[in-house]
């Protein structure tokens, strides 16, 4: 869907990424909202609409997002919404909301303390409740099943997967938010034990606590607030069937459709992409589906393999892609987020520089 009203990213903040933070989710949000609004040069009072992405199962509490509203400063009462999705979908809703034309500034957040419980026991609760959840179908197992399909089809090799891990960890050295970074030898990685055959430790993301906030502004308001708006020029998300067994796991049909709907192939080359490829083998599936060639820099932040704050990982991709335009001189960037087993649902956001 083409934007009817241009909307720009004007500020963002990414929290420290830690294996276990001593802060609550609301405290993480308090900090990133304070920082993101400061980055945008506004105050909380200037925000007309907020939308948060978080998950009650992760928090271990019903309506946990109600407590998180404390971080917004919602007095006088603010228009607020919530998605039980990654914050990237919260940003999508905020973008749609600004299209109505009556509001100018919106804030999207994503937050999660993955360390609150074992993610392997949380994830199945979000799966199909009849056929998948009672088997304890966890994220790593689901990903491993897709990896096996790709390996058997010869579409990826274990060496290629280890090479992706080594590259993202190397890139992550420059990212102060990275949790996993450094120089790693591919052969040494391949000598490691399988965690869930065919996946080794380096094929998996770390368990991360963290949050992210992104500020959006519409049209003239964006130009008024900043000299360097990062415009959203394409935005779409597409879902496919939930049961992995009915899908062709060699490809990502929904990612390809989202890329087409967001106009990725139109309007010039993509310089850089931040993908929510939380498992190494997902990167080649996504670059193929999104039409990204070898000339496109993938995950210069280190991506989710460097830090994976559940419910915020996708929104961090959008913030990092915006940073590539604002601070690294890139012209056109793609941010991607995913949700559901084996890349079930995919979101594509195209960002561009300009006045």
């Amino acid at each position: 869907m083409a934007a009817t009203e241009p909307v720009a990213i004007i500020g963002w903040s990414v929290s420290p990424m830690e294996r276990r933070t001593d802060k609550t989710e609301a405290q993480l949000l308090l900090d990133v909202i304070t920082d993101a609004t400061a980055h945008a040069g506004i105050s909380r009072a200037d925000v007309d609409f907020t939308c948060a992405g978080s998950c009650d199962y992760v928090a271990g509490q019903a309506f946990s997002f109600v407590q998180n509203i404390n971080a917004i400063g919602a007095w006088p009462p603010k228009r607020d919404s919530h998605v039980e999705m990654d914050g990237a979908w919260a940003l999508y809703e905020a973008w749609v909301r600004l299209q109505l034309g009556d509001l100018d500034v919106a804030l999207a957040t994503g937050s999660g303390r993955s360390s609150t419980a074992d993610p392997a026991t949380i994830y199945p609760m979000e799966m199909d409740p009849y056929y998948l959840a009672p088997l304890g179908a966890d994220a790593v197992s689901m990903a491993a099943l897709q990896a096996r399909v790709l390996l058997d089809a010869g579409l990826v090799t274990e060496r290629q997967m280890a090479t992706i891990a080594a590259r993202t960890r190397r890139d992550a050295v420059a990212n102060p938010h990275a949790q996993v970074s450094g120089e790693f030898d591919v052969d040494a990685l391949l000598a490691g034990e399988y965690v869930r055959d065919p996946l080794r430790r380096h094929d998996l993301p770390p368990i991360t606590d963290g949050a992210c906030a992104v500020v959006l502004a519409r049209g003239e308001k964006a130009r008024e607030l900043t000299d360097r708006p990062v415009w959203i020029t394409g935005f779409a998300h597409v879902a496919e069937a939930h049961q992995p067994g009915v899908r062709d796991l060699r490809v990502s049909t929904s990612a390809a459709r989202a890329a087409k709907a967001a106009g990725v192939a139109e309007g010039g080359p993509i310089d850089v992409a931040e993908l929510q490829s939380a498992f190494t083998h997902e990167e080649p599936v996504l670059t193929a589906a999104l039409g990204l060639g070898p000339e496109v820099a993938i995950n210069p932040s280190g991506g989710p393999l460097a830090a994976n704050p559940i419910m915020a990982t996708g929104l961090v991709r959008i913030a990092e892609a915006a940073r590539q335009i604002r601070d690294a001189g890139k012209r056109r960037a793609l941010a991607h987020a995913t949700s559901g087993p084996c890349l079930q649902q995919n979101l594509v956001c195209v960002l561009e520089e300009g006045r």
């Binding site: 405290q27 271990g60 509203i69 971080a71 419980a117 199945p124 009849y130 998948l132 197992s141 049961q243």
Partner: protein, 318 residues
């Protein structure tokens, strides 16, 4: 300093199955695996809508398997408590004979080296089957169906299923919350006054929700032990898991004198359910010190003062 509290949350769900999943689950009680026809494909396990087109599928069920071919697998070396087996096993996508799709289930292969893509597997059925995906305990390597006990037709169709998951949480308890808890153990209420708007909060709040600024121990204030009931509810307990009350009981909101927010859902002492009402003046009742010298709030007892006559009081719910 932040500490952590451990808790276990149970999620005991009871779900209705509908005509398609119900048929599949009923089949399981008969040790039969059913798929649903979608054009030239057979989808297993059956779904109500065509995953390609979204069209509702006719209820044309096809028996598949019991043998099938492993199309993908992964090896689970350390199972979680939610996994179907408590020893190393494989998750696999199994294309049952006659099916067009992969059926996710466990393969009890004993060792990783026994697993290959393309291997043949058959289900190992439980003796007691109730219409649940785990009626198949696991698939095992092989091509020949295993003998099945009690494979007679189902009496009643299966219409419901249970799912009872448990998750262990480790939740941070912030410094403010800890200090309020410590004060309560001494029979004191600790409040926090916002340094910006001067609102006075109870309950170890970490930030002022109006100003969105953090509250710190420097903002602490000792609170009075008296207040007024602003609102109440009489709860007739339903015996859901974890409910320990058996008789109707009251929970009240208490607005401490001079404080800006209520203490929510407080128990009462020496106040009959019929006498609970907004405006009643109450004071805190603490338990005697336990073996470690710690007290706890037992509830709120009427002081005998005249009621506060303020019709707006009932609106104080936060």
């Amino acid at each position: 300093m932040t500490t952590y509290v451990e808790s276990t949350v149970r999620f005991p769900y009871k779900r209705s199955l509908g005509p398609v999943i119900g048929q599949f689950m009923t089949g399981l009680t008969e040790a039969r695996l059913l798929g649903i026809r979608a054009d030239d494909r057979v989808i297993v396990p059956p779904v109500e809508w065509d995953p390609e087109t979204g069209e509702q599928l006719a209820h044309e069920f096809v028996e598949v398997g019991p043998a099938g071919t492993v199309r993908s697998w992964c090896w689970v070396e350390k199972p979680t408590t939610q996994h179907p087996l408590d020893r190393p096993f494989a998750f696999a996508l199994i294309e049952l004979d006659g099916a067009s799709t992969g059926f996710l289930h466990a393969v009890d292969a004993g060792r990783r080296e026994a697993m290959t893509t393309g291997m043949r597997v058959v289900p190992r059925w439980r003796t007691e089957r109730r219409g649940h995906i785990t009626d198949v305990e696991a698939f095992v390597p092989g091509d020949q169906p295993l003998p099945v006990e009690r494979a007679e037709p189902a009496g009643e169709p299966v219409t419901m299923m249970t799912y009872d998951a448990e998750v262990h949480y480790l939740t941070p308890v912030t410094e403010n919350e800890t200090r309020v808890g410590q004060a309560a153990a001494e029979g004191r209420f600790l409040g926090l006054r916002c340094p910006r708007c001067a609102r006075l909060y109870v309950g170890g709040k970490n930030d002022c929700p109006i100003c969105a600024v953090a509250l710190t121990p420097q903002d602490e204030v000792d609170l009075p032990q008296r207040g007024t009931i602003t609102n109440y509810v009489i709860i007739t307990p339903v015996q859901y898991p974890g409910q320990t009350e058996t008789e109707p009981f009251a929970r009240v909101h208490v607005l401490l004198d001079g404080v800006d927010v209520v203490l929510m859902f407080q128990p009462v002492v020496d106040l009959a359910n019929d006498d609970v009402r907004p405006g009643v003046r109450v004071s805190a009742v603490w338990t005697p010190p336990d073996g470690t010298g710690r007290r706890a709030l037992a509830g709120w007892r009427p002081t005998g003062e005249p009621d506060v006559d303020d019709p707006a009081l009932v609106n104080r719910i936060h």
